[in-house]
């Protein structure tokens, strides 16, 4: 099993955010395993994604729907398009199983989403559960905990 250094792990998280900021969504989707989940809990410290509401709890099919929808000609709420910006703190390695090829990273972030003249700031922590597949890092779970996850939001259009 290929072992990944702390720098390589951090670089992976930075590169993922860059794909989102550059709106290279197909390449971004390729970072996820086929059984991956993208989870944004609604409650602080939420443990249950199924019997409690979340802001997002999506498998790869639903993420694919989002990505293809963003490219659609009749996606009226993206005319004009949103743009986004991630500012990440250095990830901390919460867990590393070099032999099993799995890693958990926690990254504090500020995320900006803009559309028209409006700009909205979100802040929180992203947790990446990474696995090694065919020698490369892949995301099995990306969990995004907003500091104000239970607040009333306007539309969140892109991906944190």
């Amino acid at each position: 099993m290929t072992a990944f250094s702390p720098q390589q792990l951090s670089d992976f998280v930075y590169a993922e955010a860059r794909l989102l900021d550059e709106q290279r969504f197909d390449a971004w989707l390729d970072l996820f395993t086929d059984d991956a989940r993208y989870w944004m809990p609604l409650a602080p410290g939420q443990q249950d994604p199924l019997l409690h509401a979340s802001l997002l709890y999506e498998d790869k099919l639903l993420l694919r729907v989002r990505v293809e929808r963003l490219a659609g000609a009749r996606t009226f709420s993206q005319q004009p398009r949103s743009r986004c910006h991630h500012l990440l703190q250095q990830p901390s390695i919460e867990h590393a199983d070099l032999d099993g090829g799995s890693y958990t990273l926690r990254t504090a972030f500020h995320y900006l989403e803009t559309r028209l003249d409006a700009q909205t700031l979100y802040a929180g922590w992203a947790t990446h559960e990474l696995v090694v597949q065919e020698g490369a890092l892949r995301i099995r779970l990306k969990r995004v905990d907003l500091v104000n996850c239970d607040a009333a939001f306007g539309s969140i259009n892109l991906f944190m």
Binding site: L50, H52, L55, D59, V65, T75, A151, A152, F153, S155
Partner: protein, 448 residues
């Protein structure tokens, strides 16, 4: 500057805003009309506050807003549900600060420690001697936290009428309560619990745009083509034999053709209530949940269980500002904040005694359709917000609600209550709402 009131103390001007097939744009953009709605419409009608399962034990409370009024709903010691204005009678401080909690036997104001029983009555005042001989007993403050005009708990759904006098609960809702009945009866134990948290989505548009949208069956295939249509398309690319995911089952009916929505029917009741989905609906073809049918048959017998689950009502509007989906156990509340600002709360219920998978499906539906992250919700909000801006345009002053208008519908207390229904793409329910709007905005009626 125009210092004349355009609508205040001018009931004729307000009434003239609602025509048979159109309503004036000021209903959506005028700040004075919004104030009048808060003062009259939301005081004269029965407005949903919360569910009794949110306050199971004596002393449990939630806060809620009815119109512009901050309220606290609390379980009293005798088991009844009390509704109090969240305002200390002393200096006006909101006594309760949390969205929900447990007060114990009394509320205590954080400012000067005045305490109140859970029926609002004044329990104690520190240094009370200071009020001796001041006429305190005859002051408003000595009467404690004020209660709202009237409260009715219907099968655990708590409604209130802020005005002390006015239309009775049964008269106001009439046979429309059958949608709440059906949602309750979908539990093998005949019991619902609020479960799974609440999604809160801020909208920069008028609250009535959301209410209109609930029975607008000509928009899904247009506004939601990008989301539901894409979901169907992506699903088609899946390898043959892959089981149809729950999410696809929930999304797909949004892009059913017009004919489907025409055939599903619409039914309205007096006072602004009504529902789409009489004969069929987007919730009619969900996969069976293992074990549930057997539970329902054991509880109700086969014939009754079949009747309960055969009700596929789509969206039931309870005028003025909630919508209920019985078959998927959700309740949406459109909380008016300003003429151009509305908080949309989407609540979900557990069918007590039923398999967890039903709640899981309800929560998935709510997340996919009603969350601030929802690809369906995004496009709805986009069209509302464009309307909120567009309505300021000169040259056109009216919003059309005339689709499939029939002059005979005006005099009827209810349409379709006998089981018949009309074409599901009719804007009948919108017209029904606006007739009720004009009735309950009537400032000449007795309102305190």
């Amino acid at each position: 500057m125009n210092i004349m009131n355009k609508y205040r103390n001018r009931p004729d001007a307000v009434r003239a805003l609602v025509r048979d097939t159109e309503v004036h744009k000021d209903l959506f953009i005028d700040a004075e009309l919004f104030e009048l709605e808060m003062e009259h419409l939301f005081a004269n009608t029965w407005v949903y506050v919360g569910h009794a399962s949110q306050v199971p034990k004596a002393g449990d409370y939630i806060t809620a807003t009815v119109g512009a009024q901050p309220l606290v709903m609390v379980r009293h010691g005798d088991g009844s549900v009390k509704l109090l204005y969240n305002r200390c009678p002393h200096k006006g401080t909101q006594v309760v600060g949390e969205a929900c909690g447990h007060a114990g036997k009394f509320f205590r104001c954080p400012y000067h420690a005045w305490t109140f029983r859970t029926d609002g009555s004044l329990l104690s005042v520190p240094l009370k001697k200071g009020y001796e001989g001041t006429g305190f007993e005859s002051c408003e403050a000595s009467r404690g936290m004020a209660a709202v005009g009237a409260v009715q708990v219907y099968r655990d759904f708590v409604f209130c009428r802020l005005a002390p006098q006015g239309v009775g609960f049964d008269e106001f809702f009439g046979a429309s309560l059958s949608t709440l009945d059906n949602m309750v009866e979908r539990s093998p134990e005949g019991k619902l619990e609020v479960a799974g948290g609440v999604l809160r989505y801020m909208h920069h548009c008028n609250w009535k745009m959301l209410v209109d949208n609930q029975t607008d069956t000509c928009h899904p295939m247009v506004a939601h083509e990008s989301s539901a249509g894409t979901a169907v398309r992506v699903w088609k690319e899946a390898p043959a034999g892959t089981p149809k995911p729950m999410a696809v089952e929930l999304f797909a009916p949004f892009v059913n053709p017009y004919e489907f929505f025409e055939n599903m029917g619409i039914r309205v009741w007096d006072n602004g209530h009504g529902h789409t989905g009489v004969a069929d609906s987007i919730h009619a073809a969900y996969s069976p949940v293992p074990g549930y049918w057997e539970q329902m048959v054991a509880a109700y017998g086969e014939a009754r269980a079949s009747q309960i689950l055969g009700e596929v009502r789509h969206n039931t509007v309870y005028f003025p500002n909630i919508m209920v989906k019985g078959p998927i156990q959700t309740l949406r509340r459109f909380v008016p904040i300003a003429a151009d600002r509305t908080l949309v709360e989407s609540w979900t219920f557990r069918l007590v005694g039923a398999p967890d998978l039903l709640l899981e499906r309800t929560l998935m539906y709510n997340r996919l359709i009603n969350a601030p992250t929802s690809v369906v919700g995004h496009d709805d909000l986009e069209v509302y917000e464009r309307a909120q801006q567009g309505l300021h345009a000169r040259g056109r002053d009216w919003v059309n609600v005339g689709r499939l208008y029939d002059p005979a519908e005006r005099g009827q207390a209810s349409v379709g209550a006998d089981g018949t229904s009309t074409n599901g793409t009719s804007e009948l329910q919108m017209r029904n709402q606006y007739r009720a709007w004009a009735r309950y905005m009537d400032t000449t009626e007795a309102v305190e």
